[in-house]
């Protein structure tokens, strides 16, 4: 198989041999999973939008009673930075900078992911205190169906990252570990993309003057 006309984007590069050629179908297959996940998120967004109005809030607390824009801003910055650091981990892998360099960038991304989750959980605790619980209104049911779904994805991403750090340490940088890291990278960047929609629609849309 000729490797010269492989996809120019998120790939390993010719010098990775077997792992590079395998990446072609494996990464495309993962894109199909991501797109099915996108459909799930998109429809949860649609159901959120149908109740994001005074009728949906049923006289209960609204977004301005429960959201903290400063905390959302911090979470946005953290997730965006983690996308960049994961990109650097991918680059370290592509250019064979060694396991330590890859693990360092992955470690930073994992740490940022965990900080994001802890800030999000703190926000959720404040929302519960403000009475913004799922059983209060259709609006809050839809909110708790949407935003924690993204948080759950980030938690799974962090778990996956820990597994990959362990696999890198025990198995070394074998082809299957490299392509798994490529897929984890796609997952990680995809979650940041979903977050753009969440902060724009749910948080900025909810707190709009």
């Amino acid at each position: 198989m000729s490797t010269s006309n492989l996809h120019p984007g998120l790939n390993l590069g010719d010098h990775h041999g077997e792992a590079h050629e395998g990446a072609e179908t494996i990464v495309f297959g993962f894109w199909i999973f991501l797109m099915s996940d996108l459909v799930i998120f998109g429809l949860v967004f649609a159901s959120y939008l149908t109740v994001a109005n005074p009728m949906g809030m049923a006289g209960g607390p609204g977004p301005e009673d429960a959201f903290d824009l400063a905390s959302i801003f911090a979470q946005t910055m953290i997730l965006l930075t983690s996308s960049l650091t994961f990109g650097f981990a991918t680059l370290a892998m592509r250019h064979e900078r060694g396991r330590a360099a890859i693990a360092r960038w992955l470690g930073v991304s994992l740490l940022l992911g965990l900080v994001f989750l802890s800030l999000e959980l703190r926000d959720f605790a404040h929302m519960i205190e403000a009475g913004a619980v799922p059983q209060h209104s259709g609006y809050w049911s839809a909110f708790w169906g949407l935003v924690p779904l993204h948080g759950l994805h980030v938690a799974v991403g962090c778990l996956w990252l820990m597994v990959m750090l362990a696999q890198m340490a025990t198995l070394g940088l074998i082809p299957v570990v490299k392509t798994r890291l490529l897929r984890l990278g796609l997952f990680w960047h995809f979650l940041d993309l979903i977050w753009v929609a969440i902060f724009s629609i749910v948080y900025l849309g909810g707190l709009m003057p």
């Binding site: 459909v39 149908t50 801003f73 965006l80 724009s200 003057p209």
Partner: protein, 101 residues
């Protein structure tokens, strides 16, 4: 550390980060300082969000318009089409029901 490909690709990621950062800071500033309001603000936030999603696809997920064997872009566009039919259809029907109620 003097690999030209590596620094070129690193700059590519940093350029994407810079663009995404700008497209994040602007809508947060607009809402925080209430610089705009109503429909104009909603449309601005939506346009900036779509722009940022395109930036993420281009710079972080490496999707571009080049001829490629892996048809990522067609897959994404087809998924977005299906999603648009389902999501816009949902909003249309539910909005219609709400006005009739």
């Amino acid at each position: 550390m003097t690999d030209p490909d590596h620094s070129k690709e690193a700059r590519f990621y940093l350029a994407g980060f810079g663009l995404a950062l700008t497209l994040t800071l602007v809508p947060f500033a607009l809402v925080h300082w209430a610089l705009m309001e109503g429909r104009a603000l909603a449309i601005t936030i939506a346009v900036l969000a779509v722009a940022q999603i395109v930036v993420h696809l281009r710079f972080f997920l490496h999707i571009d318009l080049s001829r490629q064997k892996r048809e990522d872009l067609q897959l994404i566009l087809f998924t977005v089409l299906l999603l648009a039919i389902m999501a816009i259809g949902t909003l249309w029907i539910m909005g219609n029901l709400a006005t009739r109620m």
